[in-house]
Each structure stands twice: as C-alpha cells, then as structure tokens.
Symmetry: C2
Subunit: 170 residues, 2 copies
DNA sequence: TATTGTTATACTCTATAACTATA
DNA sequence: TATAGTTATAGAGTATAACAATA
C-alpha cells in the first residue's frame, strides 16, 4: 500500500510538502500529481526556450497541425488547446511571421481560413519533436512497466471523472 | 493492458488528441498526464477566481503558511513554491495589503522577516481549503481504490525519476 | 441571429538582473 | 564575499469584451 514510506521519499520541498497525514487521500494525490506535472512541464518549457527559442503553446499548436496535413480552423485549434479564440490568433500570428504556418483561405466559408504547417514549419517541428521525445524518455524511461501501465489506465479513468465536473462547458 | 480501448475513451478533443498510435508510450503517457492535470488545474483556478477572487499561487502560498504557524522566510517559500524571490515578494505584498499575511521582523537576522498568516488570513484560507477539498473530491472521488493507490505510488516513482533530470538546479 | 476570426485591454505569473542592507 | 529581500523590467499566457465580415 501507499501508506507511509512512499509519502516521504521525495527529497526536495515543493507543493506536496504542504500536505499533512490528516489530509484526505484525494487531496494528497492531487498535490502529488500537480507537483509531478509541474516538474516535467517546467523542464520542457525551459528546454524549449533555451534550445529552440519557442514556448509550449507554440509547440502544442504545431503538434496539432502536424496531425492535420490539410490544416485546421482556428476554432478547432481553440477547442483542442482549450484556450479562447483570441489567443490562437496571437500564437498563429507569431508563427506565421516566422514562416512556420500559413493561413489558407477556404472557398466554402469566407469567414474562416485553414491554418497549416509550411514545409519549413514541418521540418522545424520534427526536429523539436525528436528532442522533446528524448527529454520525456529521459524522465519517464525509468518507470517500471507496471507503473507505466497503471498510470496510463488510472489517468484515463481520472480524465473521464474530471471532465463532467467542468464548470462552464458549452 | 492499456493497449487500444483506454486510448480512445476520452470524448473531448484536447492535447492528447495529438498522439497517434506510433508515438512512444512515454510520450503518450506524458500527454495524458498533462491534459489530465490541466483539466483539474483549470477548474481549480477558475473556481478560486470566481468564488474567492484569488489565484492558485496565492492559495498555495497561504497553504504553505498554514503548515508553519511560526511563519516562513521568503527564501523558504521561494524554494517550496519553486519560483524566484522577487515573485514571492509580489504575492506577499498583495496578501499583506489585504490583511491575509504579515511580515514579522526577526531579531537574529535583520535582513529577513518571517511571513505568517494573520487570524483573518487563517479564517479565510480555511474556508477556501474546505471548498478546494470538495472540488478535488468531486473530481477524484470516483476513482477506484486500486487506481488511486496505483496512481499515488506510480507518481512517487516518477517524481524521483524526473527530479534528477532537472537542468539548472543549484 | 449565430458564427468566425480579429483587435484591444488588463491582469497574473514568471524570469532576469540590478540594487540595498545586512551578515 | 555571500545572503535576504526588494525593485524594475519585459515577456508569456490568459480572459473578457467589443467588433467586422460572413453565414
């Protein structure tokens, strides 16, 4: 079980340090997950910045586009990335200025355009994605196969549980 | 195992949608964890804002202080919250202006002061913490006991693996 | 009327770096 | 010299809201 020892093995004080044994399991679990995620996320952000002069949202947007060779509408991107339309416009503007993506007018609806990676953007993203995957492997690679698959399944379960709780979903 | 079905059960497009079957397990695991965390975190931030007019970093700082009735030094807070000194100053300023925390001069070292919750801050935080715990329970409560403890242990393992990878740690 | 995308604005959080006052 | 904390600055990310063009 996960009673006592697992709780105290971390050696660096962080958000999880604020828990005490009386706290409820769910809360302790959440704080552990949060600090774990932040650990990885901070590292990824930092490396994207120093090694590729880019940011996580930009990387994410390009990742979405790589899966959609025909392009995606801004509103689609907005839904997938869970941020508002205006923000997508801003990120797209930056990437377009650098020649990574292009807006393509679509004939059937003159309000919208498709955003897609340029050849340059595709090359550039693939290089980043390769490094990105190595960073992830360096951090996750040591996980036992048991833990990996337990995490994978438990997170799927959690995701389904958490979604319906969302306030303000359309 | 977590081969095919678990991968496709989520019904809302998000960051994880960008994965394809060829992606490595570690990457898919990370994207699932990230979108899971974002789901919960976004919800918490939104509720803290609408119901208590506060933010996650402010909540976190107060949470740290509740565990330290004697107070904490800014540099301690900085370490625990993993942000730089200047940021702690800013958040502390806000909270002090609202009467939630106070700076207490310490005799032995005239450079530093201890930050601690005021009575008002303690009351206010406890109210928030109670709601916070309910939000968490609403999202995590449905987890099976197996998943909960699997997550808890697997995350502890991951945390230890990820920490040494950190670039730029003192 | 509703939707797509843009623009403008404001605010929080963050890192960096220069600074002060102590130690 | 080193440390504790402050200040100033700049940039990213976000939400909100008003807006134009089109459906």
């Amino acid at each position: 079980m996960s009673a006592t020892p697992a709780t105290t093995i971390q050696n660096i004080p962080d958000l999880e340090s604020r828990t005490v044994p009386e706290d409820h399991q769910d809360l302790r679990l959440w704080l552990r997950m949060l600090s774990c995620c932040n650990l990885v996320e901070t590292e990824i952000r930092s490396r994207l910045r120093t090694e590729f002069e880019t940011t996580l949202p930009r990387f994410d947007l390009m990742a979405q586009l790589l899966r959609a060779p025909a392009g995606m509408k801004m509103s689609e991107l907005s839904r997938h990335m869970m941020v508002t339309n205006g923000n997508i416009t801003g990120i797209t503007d930056q990437l377009e200025k650098e020649g990574m993506v292009e807006r393509v007018k679509v004939a059937t609806d003159r309000r919208s355009s498709l955003i897609r990676l340029t050849a340059k953007g595709k090359r550039s993203f693939k290089k980043m994605a390769k490094s990105h995957e190595e960073w992830i492997r360096a951090m996750f690679g040591g996980l036992s196969e048991t833990s990996r698959s337990a995490l994978f399944d438990a997170l799927a379960e959690l995701k389904l549980l958490a979604q319906p709780q969302l306030s303000g979903r359309p």
